[in-house]
């Protein structure tokens, strides 16, 4: 009999229809003592319609979530200046602030708003930023994240990553009637949109380097296939549906290839590279153990992956040129898996087992390979770096439910993004 063929009905209309509301509430589980104090004064709004959107609140939440800033409570503000000329610097300094952000939002005709803002150093009264950006109503949230990015960059000298997105899998319902959704949301979890929905598992979302597409695994038709879907149009393509396993897609830095996990007829999983234009498949690893969870180096010349060739799963690195022999990178403990490289390639994040729990660890790739376990949960998996490398988002468990959590890449600040519904898993942070 023919292998069953399945007709896929694309949810073109559903693609990028917004969900009803933001899904997450942020809980800070570990804060930083030396966070920089900043006052983010509510922006003026010249009319009521514009006033419904609170730019300053978004900026304040972003900066607080980064763990690097401590923003002043609004109810402690004795006055609310909207431009540099009306700031009483001595007062703000006495209230303990190092920086102050003031601004205003004004309508500019039909569905158009102008946001102007100024950042000052309270101590020396220096004006650090003065900008105006314009946006339509739907773009106000993104514009606010861009303001936060500029403040973050100006004060810390690190590019902000607030105006980026996260993809994740949300599971609704109970066994055996579960449904799976692939969702893309803003980096703060707001503005979630369903990209794909299925009654069979969805797994392993991976952003293309240009941020325009997601690769993912779908079990629709009961068998795993790898798909690439354009976010803007919803158009998608099945790029790998070989017999057996089709898993763990990872984009090459040039966006032209996918590393993925395929299997032989007798079920041996190895890492392969698929050329998206020619469909040509090249085998990268060849070992009877499980080789999976590939991740490219930035130069596209080598691949990090998980292998249990030595017993338990450990992390290896191999060059993509034929004949290169994998080199083992992790030696502490008997379970180290799913490597993710920091954007500057100085650090490797992965899942490690410690006291029977699964936690996020990082290895310093510059020195002797020191390993630091960052998290304290029992089921912390799926780490993914922010594109500026400052934070790692991962999947955790809270009161029996799958949730997303954040840690700074040094572990000093940790937060949970508590979802309003369902199990949330496998976060993937977009590129800039």
């Amino acid at each position: 009999m023919n292998k069953s063929r399945f007709v896929i009905v694309l949810l073109a209309l559903l693609a990028f229809c917004p969900l009803s509301r933001g899904e997450f509430v942020v809980e800070v589980t570990r804060g930083q003592d030396d966070a920089i104090p900043i006052a983010i004064v509510p922006f003026t709004a010249a009319d009521a319609a514009a006033g419904t959107f609170d730019v300053a609140q978004v900026v304040s939440d972003d900066l607080a979530r980064s763990g690097r800033f401590k923003s002043m409570d609004r109810k402690d503000m004795v006055e609310q200046p909207h431009n540099g000329a009306s700031i009483s610097f001595d007062d703000w300094r006495r209230l303990g602030n190092d920086y102050i952000l003031v601004g205003q939002m004004q309508p500019q005709g039909q569905d158009r708003f102008s946001i102007s803002f100024e950042l000052y150093n309270v101590l020396n009264r220096q004006r650090l930023l003065g900008y105006q950006i314009s946006a339509n109503a739907a773009g106000l949230r993104l514009a606010s994240h861009q303001v936060a990015d500029m403040v973050f960059d100006k004060i810390l000298g690190v590019r902000g990553a607030f105006a980026t997105r996260i993809a994740y899998i949300s599971v609704l319902g109970s066994v055996p009637n579960r449904s799976y959704r692939l969702i893309v949301a803003d980096s703060d979890g707001e503005n979630p949109h369903v990209v794909m929905q299925s009654n069979e598992p969805l797994m392993s979302p991976a952003w293309s380097p240009d941020g325009q597409s997601l690769a993912y695994v779908s079990f629709e038709g009961r068998l795993p296939s790898v798909y690439v879907q354009q976010l803007r149009t919803g158009e998608r393509r099945r790029v790998s549906a070989m017999a057996g396993v089709n898993q763990a897609p990872a984009w090459s830095p040039d966006g032209k290839k996918l590393a993925l996990t395929l299997s032989t007829r007798d079920g041996n999983l190895d890492v392969y590279v698929l050329d998206l234009a020619t469909q040509a498949v090249t085998r990268i690893t060849d070992d009877p153990g499980i080789d999976t969870e590939p991740q490219w180096s930035k130069d596209g010349q080598s691949i990090y992956f998980t292998s249990d060739r030595a017993g338990g799963p450990q992390i290896y690195r191999v060059g993509i040129q034929p004949g290169d022999r994998p080199r083992r990178l992790t030696f502490q403990g008997n379970y180290n898996a799913r490597p993710r490289l920091s954007p500057d390639e100085t650090q490797l994040a992965f899942v490690t087992q410690e006291d029977g729990a699964y936690r996020i660890a990082v290895m310093d790739l510059r020195g002797r390979g020191d390993v630091q376990v960052l998290t304290k949960g029992r089921f912390d998996v799926s780490p993914s770096y922010a594109p500026n490398g400052a934070m790692i988002i991962y999947a955790s468990r809270d009161r029996g439910r799958g949730v997303l959590a954040l840690t700074t890449s040094d572990g000093r600040v940790q937060e949970r993004l508590v979802s309003s519904e369902g199990e949330v898993q496998e976060p993937a942070w977009s590129p800039f």
Partner: protein
Amino acid sequence: MKRIISIACLLAAAALLTGCPKKATTVEPPIAGAQVPAAGQGGASTTNPLGQAGTSGMGTQGANATGLLAKHIIYFDFDKSDIKPEFVEIISVHARNLAAHPNLKMRLEGNTDERGTREYNIGLGERRAQAVRRALMLQGAAESQLTTVSYGAERPAVEGDNEAAWEQNRRVEMVYVP
């Protein structure tokens, strides 16, 4: 214009929620002469291999064998893929059934508990499915009768983050397919 798009989105979402969500995403065309599990019914549709065999007119011999044929799930220890002694006879009965009825086909669905990384668990689930496949082939099932798929930790039989749930999720389901 924007409002029209919003309304279209709402209507589409409403249709999805109130209409027939099971068919909205994946539609499986019926296959003649066989009971095809509806999309989305998940494990519920895979719990009756005897029924599947029955519909294609394939009976089995003896009450005892029938009892074992009704069992179709092989359970595993944590991080293990070797078949435990108590499951050897169940696999034997299915192997004999497959050998006696060469037009029967079986899908072996490998699963793990939730612990560990998701993609590595796909590998473990596949390893379990392959262990059952080899055991079936050693006892007379033909290679062409068997396919494997690994769901890793993605399709648990039971929810819960405790050993009682985990031991029910570390399994291979032997599913007769049309």
